[in-house]
Symmetry: C2
Subunit: 176 residues, 2 copies
Amino acid sequence: MSLQDELDALPGVTATPDDATRGFVFNHTMLRVKDIANSLDFYTRVLGFTVVRKRDFDEAAFSLYFLVRVADRSAIPADEPARGQWLLSQPGVLELTHNHGTQDDPGFAYHDGNSEPRGFGHICISVPDVEAACARFEALGVPFQKRLTDGRMKDIAFIKDPDGYWVEILQPTPRG
Amino acid sequence: MSLQDELDALPGVTATPDDATRGFVFNHTMLRVKDIANSLDFYTRVLGFTVVRKRDFDEAAFSLYFLVRVADRSAIPADEPARGQWLLSQPGVLELTHNHGTQDDPGFAYHDGNSEPRGFGHICISVPDVEAACARFEALGVPFQKRLTDGRMKDIAFIKDPDGYWVEILQPTPRG
């Protein structure tokens, strides 16, 4: 029995995807953020994301920001509608929702999902060299939830974005 | 000024990604789920995901399930370690965390992030034909948070996974 066969035999699993799901893409994850400038700084400067689209809903007083982490920015179409169609066809897009004004309320904070009531846990960035990446985060003053040396799992770290959302850091390959 | 230049000029944005972020990939989003069989049914049968990896932590009484939505399952390496390295290099992976036993507690529920305290909002699946996809979800009895016909935004829908997490459904291209 292959590894895939074993996983496909788990309770609940449909082993052969329905033809009707052809072309489905896990496109994005949406997080609300308190101060969009702080969040754009973190995701573009610290993690290397690119902002691909901004949509403003002035009447409802919120804006949406769509970010991607791509190897080559020239892959992003320059103009709409090709740009938006490309964006919504990609896996791994991050959508940030900013409700206008929250950044000016000192007592305002979003919930990171890791204390009660729990639910969402984290997002994860995979990196070519987890030790180098974590050393750079330290140098940049990024707060850590878990350093590589903390706890039992020595191959993963968690940093925190400006709202306190956990961002797991790992490398796909064995550490040298 | 190009559209990208305008976005790169937003407060907080670093326009040129640091070379140190080369190879960074937005790999996955983690959600806790109460009943893993129900969740695997939803994500594999309704949305066409494939389970690529399961990790059990018996002492701490939880298991992790990694799922991808791919066009061609033959792209997934059959065996470890290639399989795990491939998985952790992909964008758009979904990680489900199951704390053992929660499925047997009638009062247990996770928080979807969309009532207080808010934070995480939703994940999104893009589909080739949003009307056909929504008609199929209706036929399958999937609960909706927002049908295409609800509210002002007629081009997007939200369905709910077994824990009540919102899953946005949209199509990248104009509707015919």
